[in-house]
Symmetry: C2
Subunit: 314 residues, 2 copies
């Protein structure tokens, strides 16, 4: 099973140098998610053969156009392609009115339902989605309008059975308990098989966090603590520190500082200002603080798995 | 001076087979216009190095998403690129509310003004724009929602002076009159120089018409009579005649029938259904009725000039 992020767009605000606008396709634990949906996202999904029909949840960080103007076309195409299954969109408040105004004005009646879930940044770090495979948390970012980040986590895994220690007296029902870390007791309540004797600790749950757009603020590293992969915007080089501050964006140095302080597995930077025709200086700057940094490119895929990422070449 | 149409998108409804959605960039008599603006139009303008900053008028045929969802990003980018000059958008009613809802909802305040001009199809054939270079007429099309076609025409040209006939008694002021077709008289009101003696008829004004989306209806050939270049949608092959009828689209055969009856210079077909991975059958069908037919491709440019078009190879 693949656990990966595919980059659909790396540009900030304006498409330039062949860059598309913010969007990422996430595969985690056999589930599929879209994060942000800049103009042209449906073209990119098609180019990289990613099945949007598999996506039931879309996460929109904020309502600046370069992060959601692709929704109109994407949602409209889903309808034309025959979708009848609900889709849920998580975003800061206001998106439903915009989408409805557009679709009503253009006479479009969808054959599927969109559930709009409004997330208030002031609600802080919170669980916004959960199924049997994954959980998604949102947290506030610091931008010019209401903006939220997302943290994706696999549900906790079961403990691994130590096969060599199994013997015929241990039944299937016992194994189910042991994998959950529960000791097996006899009818008198005495421990027959101790979980810690027959299992070893569960593999870590894979995790990924998405932070765009945001100014630097130290608390962000708590929200994204220890994720396998962190996507953090790096609109500017630190030579544009003042501009980053006034526009509520981050420099590559700041993105790397968050990655280092949060002790993440790897950092992916993106949302590059059109002033940079290549991202070399941004990547170099980030790597000076956090070596395992990748600069996003359209079509790039990165595993969401600390064990694999650490061996990747940037 | 170039007079040409550049095709930005040829697909219908859904992007497929690498096709973009409806949009065309028109250069006529030193003026620049955009017609329709499907998602991704700003990417295509950039790819083909077309300067949207030169455009002051945008014409939207109807409010189906594949013809206008690119406006959000395009108008937003114009703002980021520093535009302060007004822009005028001609469309059927409803666009202003959609654009405003989106921009207000996303906190975008433009530094330039958009003049929304609503065109009612029921007003029939009418002049909607005119400057010293060109005129634009709109006319009703037959589609599932309010839809209009556009006819672009150069302003009438002045008559050409026959240089061999000039002599020193003919002053500059006389020439100006003669070129306008006005005879030059002496103070007693007697004709000194007859316009028809010193000039030959003015060159034809170049013209272009855009018809998308529409079902076939015979009167359409009156609206586009004699244009140098006709763009007419050909969503389907005639083997899908019934589907064309129920969805209010045209077959390639019907597009060619309009071109033939209107005696146009050349026909450009486009807005191809995603069921056609190549447009060969559509072009062949149209050519059986109207030989000088071109099938639109992204990035293709075609001169708007009968004298040049007639020598082109399709």
């Amino acid at each position: 099973m693949k656990n990966e992020l595919v980059v659909l767009g790396t540009g900030a605000a304006i498409p330039a140098h062949g860059r598309y606008l913010s969007s990422q396709f996430i595969t985690l634990n056999d589930r599929y998610y879209l994060i942000d949906c800049g103009e042209g996202t449906q073209f990119q999904l098609s180019k990289y053969k990613l099945k949007i029909s598999r996506v039931n949840e879309i996460f929109i960080s904020h309502l600046h156009g370069d992060h959601f103007f692709g929704l109109f076309g994407l949602l409209s195409s889903l309808n034309l392609l025959g979708r009848t299954k609900n889709i849920t969109i998580y975003s800061p408040p206001g998106l439903e009115a915009i989408i409805n105004s557009c679709f009503i004005g253009s006479g479009l009646i969808l054959r599927y339902t969109i559930n709009f879930i409004e997330i208030l940044p002031q609600d802080g770090y919170q669980l916004i989605f959960e199924d049997k495979m994954n959980k998604v948390y949102s947290f506030p970012l610091e931008h010019r309008i209401d903006t939220i980040g997302f943290r994706f986590e696999e549900q906790p895994k079961e403990r691994n059975i130590i096969k060599e220690k199994l013997h015929p007296e241990i039944k299937l029902a016992d194994i189910i308990l042991l994998k959950k870390g529960v000791d097996v007791k006899d009818e008198n309540g005495n421990v027959r098989f101790r979980a810690s004797d027959f299992t070893k600790s569960a593999p870590d749950s894979r995790s990924f966090a998405y932070c765009s757009d945001t100014a630097y603020f130290p608390k962000l590293s708590d929200y994204v603590k220890g994720v396998d992969l962190l996507y953090h915007e790096a609109t500017f080089h630190s030579s544009e520190q003042e501009r980053a501050k006034t526009t509520c964006h981050s420099t590559a140095l700041e993105a790397a500082t968050i990655a280092r302080d949060a002790e993440v597995g790897a950092l992916l930077i993106g949302h590059f200002s059109s002033r940079y025709d290549t991202t070399k200086v941004l990547k170099e700057e980030a790597k000076s603080i956090f070596p395992l940094t990748f600069a996003a490119e359209e079509g790039m895929n990165i595993p969401i798995d600390k064990r694999i990422i650490k061996n990747l070449k940037d």
